[in-house]
């Protein structure tokens, strides 16, 4: 019996009367409509069956049927199946039973829809604001369709987020909203006893600009990938690919094998870049700037690789629904292969220097420890989970693009600490290089870059897509709409899942380790906030033309022009 039938039967057996529909549009996806009465029990049942909670999606269906929808998504990694539990509540009584007590990583999802859609979750352990600004008026829920996308309520004075009570005998150290180890505005209140961390409260989402709302109301299907790419400056293509895959899945489109290979190359270049970038930052966070500079020197080569291939050093603008925008010509392929050879040598030197450095061991081993059981309980993903003995990798568990054709290892260690995360990410660099080599060699020579996409996509179809970003799994959920744009598009970046467990990793560590413990999940707050970065620098402007910019970025190290 295949996994989908087994899961569906199990749910039917236990919650038969409450199940309103079961559909499986593909052999790896199961959508179950269930009454809200049974939602909590069904979620628990899925977790008991071995599912990993991914994220929840809230929807406004008031205009269509007077209800607010709530979809919880789960992954059965070993069975290669994604499951969505779809439920709803009448708009006048949007109350659900909280699943957070049993599934802690659902905590943010529920708080998010408390803010954005006005749902209520009974039994939620921390029903505080998550996303809305502290001076946002009560009762205005911006994701509801009757709230315009550009609503700007008047700012209010004298409102502030109320931090959690500090445990007795501790002092509060404010990390943020602006702090050198954060790079983006977020606020951690760290409760310390001497130098030992005894707790932490988090207030983020300070740059929430409502990308989802924007894309559901203002732009069209094929403009979204470019917005999606700007969710994150590091794993932009991950979001673009993930979105495109979700729409393709919902609309039943199948792109050419060649464009799947090109997407794979794109994603692996991005992974190379991200791993080297993170390694540098990790060095910086433990006060080792030489690792920082050397890793970034090597990373520069990856930027050149990307520029050769896509025309851009970052934010490649390559992905469209139905395929990709640029081809890999034989010349580009030869250049990429040559660059991979030099890159591999440089990374090997870097790896030996970093892995063998006992001084780095002292700062990372045993730091930020989380047991395997806790890692499962918090639904952690990516290198953070792979450093804690869980072999999770979307590329293997839920293959997409061309990964099912390629041979590669998923490095897993079980030290459970920052050191493990570092080892996993360094080893993955070599796997990425191997994947790139194979992908370039095996790529089919023909096939359209872009398939024919019908003028109008069928409406109200659901698509669930996962992509392994360098930091972990990204999840996108798309419900197709009628006006040539998604009715609902939900983004869950890996940080959204991993950040929720940071307080658990911080507990009883030294304050000096705060930056690296947070840094090990490679937090991307802009992904989590789903920010649109708008350069609005005013005042004195220095205009650089294209030639000047190129000159600046290409000036060889050491040369002073």
């Amino acid at each position: 019996m295949d996994a989908i039938a087994r899961i569906a039967n199990e749910l039917r057996a236990r919650f038969g009367p409450d199940i309103q529909g079961v559909e499986s549009p593909s052999p790896t996806r199961l959508f179950v409509d269930i009454d809200r009465r049974a939602l909590r029990g069904a979620a628990q049942a899925l977790v008991d069956l071995g599912a990993r909670y991914m994220v929840g999606i809230g929807t406004d269906e008031i205009a269509r049927r007077g209800r607010l929808g709530l979809i919880h998504t789960f992954a059965f990694d070993a069975d290669h199946v994604g499951v969505a539990l779809r439920s709803s509540a009448p708009a006048g009584d949007p109350v659900f039973e909280s699943i957070t007590p049993a599934i802690p990583s659902a905590g943010w999802t529920e708080r998010e829809y408390r803010d954005l859609l006005g749902m209520t979750f009974t039994g939620h352990p921390k029903p505080k604001r998550l996303i809305l600004a502290d001076d946002w008026p009560d009762g205005v829920h911006p994701l509801r369709k009757d709230v315009p996308y550009n609503l700007v309520p008047p700012a209010a004075e004298d409102v502030a987020y109320r931090l959690d009570e500090a445990p007795p005998g501790t002092t509060t150290v404010p990390i943020g909203p602006f702090h050198v180890s954060l790079h983006e505005p977020e606020h951690f209140a760290v409760f310390v006893d001497g130098e030992t961390i005894k707790g932490c409260d988090y207030r983020g989402f300070m740059t929430h600009r409502g990308i989802e709302k924007l894309c559901q109301t203002q732009v069209s299907y094929n403009e979204v990938p470019f917005v999606a790419e700007r969710i994150c400056g590091i794993c932009g293509s991950v979001h673009a690919v993930c979105y495109a895959q979700a729409v393709e899945a919902a609309a039943g489109l199948r792109i050419s094998r060649r464009s799947e290979y090109i997407r794979t190359v794109l994603l692996e270049i991005e992974r190379l870049h991200s791993h080297l970038l993170w390694l540098g930052i990790a060095g910086h966070l433990i006060g080792f700037d030489t690792v920082f500079m050397q890793a970034w020197r090597v990373r520069e080569k990856v930027m050149w690789l990307a520029e050769r291939f896509t025309g851009n050093r970052k934010t490649y603008g390559m992905v469209l629904i139905g395929g990709v925008r640029r081809d890999i010509t034989p010349e580009i392929r030869a250049d990429l292969e040559a660059l991979l050879t030099t890159l591999e040598k440089e990374v090997l030197v870097l790896k030996n220097a970093v892995i063998g450095d006992t001084a780095i061991h002292r700062r990372t081993k045993g730091v930020g420890f989380l047991s395997k059981e806790e890692t499962v309980r918090w639904s952690l993903i990516g290198p953070v989970a792979r450093a804690r003995g869980l072999g999770l990798d979307v590329r293997k568990d839920h293959p997409y693009a061309a990964y099912d054709d390629l041979a590669f290892d998923v490095p897993v260690v079980d030290s459970g600490d920052v050191w493990g995360t570092l080892v996993v990410r360094v080893l993955e660099i070599f796997e990425s290089i191997a994947i790139l080599r194979q992908a370039l060699a095996k790529m089919p020579a023909d096939g359209p870059l872009l398939i024919e996409v019908p003028e109008a996509l069928p409406a109200l179809r659901h698509g669930l897509s996962m992509v392994e970003a360098p930091r972990g799994e990204s999840v996108h959920y798309v419900i197709t709409g009628e006006e040539n744009r998604p009715e609902r598009w939900r983004v869950r970046a890996p940080t959204y899942a991993n950040l929720q467990a940071v307080p658990a990793m911080l507990l009883d560590n030294q304050f000096a380790d705060f930056p690296i413990i947070l840094g090990q999940i490679d937090p991307c707050f802009s992904c989590t906030d789903r920010v649109a970065v708008i350069d609005a620098r005013s005042g004195r402007r220095r205009v650089l033309d294209r030639a000047a910019l190129e000159g600046l970025s290409r000036r060889p190290a050491g040369g002073r022009s």
Binding site: T171, H179, F292, M293, A359, A512
Partner: protein, 300 residues
């Protein structure tokens, strides 16, 4: 002549301390495959800081007093302890304990400024600074006391020029190792730049300082690190002497340069330690230094 030597001393430290800082930055940059700032960058930094407006962000007199007090104390130290191989006009009137007092006064001024800033990060930095002072300064004190034991006098001449006068002994060799290991902590560079730890506590004790006050602190830190580097040369490398005053000064400056190269290389190839890890290392260093003094008392 010996009065002139006082001025030569002070001027050399004032003029060259930023240069050595610049050298260190340049070497660090080269280890990191960077171009690095010009070696004179620290002069520019100081000039810029000193030309800015003074802001008393904490609003207390102690906050104001701390930077000049720290700077004055290090000036006094370098006025007393002589370049070359003879005591200057001031050095003969004080003893080794005075120098230790004055050095500690500089550290206490930093603490005073940090605690007067009323800032959480400054407070954490101050507590780390205090631990470092209590645990590392004894190595310096023992170095001078070792000289005093061997020379039979607490006078500055005996303390600083003991190796020159009596040659190397086992005790000197042990102390030399302890001093070298403590050097990174004396000058607050990696792995022991814990009290400032930019990435965790944002320069700790100095977070509230800006403009001329911060400039004075920076100048103080540069002079202090040059003093510690130079003292190593003066105490442990007595063979760097030519007989002529000017020649001795140049030879010692060359030695100091080499010590700075060492500091820069060690600093750029190590991550920062945590204070709990550092304290264990400091404890060993203090014990080794104490052992060296013990050996000297026993005449070994």
């Amino acid at each position: 002549m010996s009065v002139v030597a006082v001025f030569v001393n002070v001027l050399l430290f004032l003029l060259l301390a930023p240069l050595f800082e610049g050298v260190m930055r340049k070497i660090t940059a080269r280890v990191q495959s960077r171009q690095g700032p010009p070696v004179v960058q620290p002069y520019y930094d100081l000039l810029k800081l000193l030309g800015k407006e003074r802001i008393n962000s904490a609003g207390t007199w102690a906050f104001r007093l701390a930077p000049p007090a720290a700077f004055a104390s290090i000036l006094a130290v370098v006025a007393l302890v002589p370049f070359g191989s003879k005591l200057n006009a001031l050095g003969g009137r004080v003893d080794a304990v005075t120098v230790i007092y004055l050095l500690t006064l500089g550290g206490v001024s930093v603490l005073l400024g940090a605690l007067a800033s009323r800032n959480t990060f400054a407070a954490i930095g101050a507590s780390r600074e205090m631990v470092t002072m209590v645990m590392v300064e004894p190595v310096l004190a023992m170095t001078l006391i070792l000289g005093a034991v061997r020379g039979g006098s607490l006078g500055l001449g005996a303390a600083v020029f003991s190796t020159a006068a009596r040659g190397y002994s086992v005790a000197t060799a042990v102390m030399l190792v302890a001093y070298l290991l403590a050097l990174q902590a004396f000058v607050a560079k990696q792995p022991f730049d814990i009290a400032e730890a930019e990435i965790e506590i944002l320069e700790g004790p100095f977070i509230e300082y800006s403009g001329p006050d911060y400039g004075l602190f920076r100048y103080y830190l540069m002079m202090k690190q040059m003093f510690y580097a130079w003292l190593f040369v003066a105490v442990f490398l007595p063979f760097l002497r030519t007989g002529a005053y000017a020649g001795d000064v140049l030879a010692q400056l060359a030695g100091t340069f080499i010590v700075f190269v060492l500091i820069a290389v060690v600093g750029s190839t190590n991550p920062r330690l945590r204070i709990d890890q550092a304290v264990k290392i400091y404890a060993v260093l203090v014990l080794v230094a104490l052992g060296a003094v013990g050996l000297a008392v026993a005449g070994i």
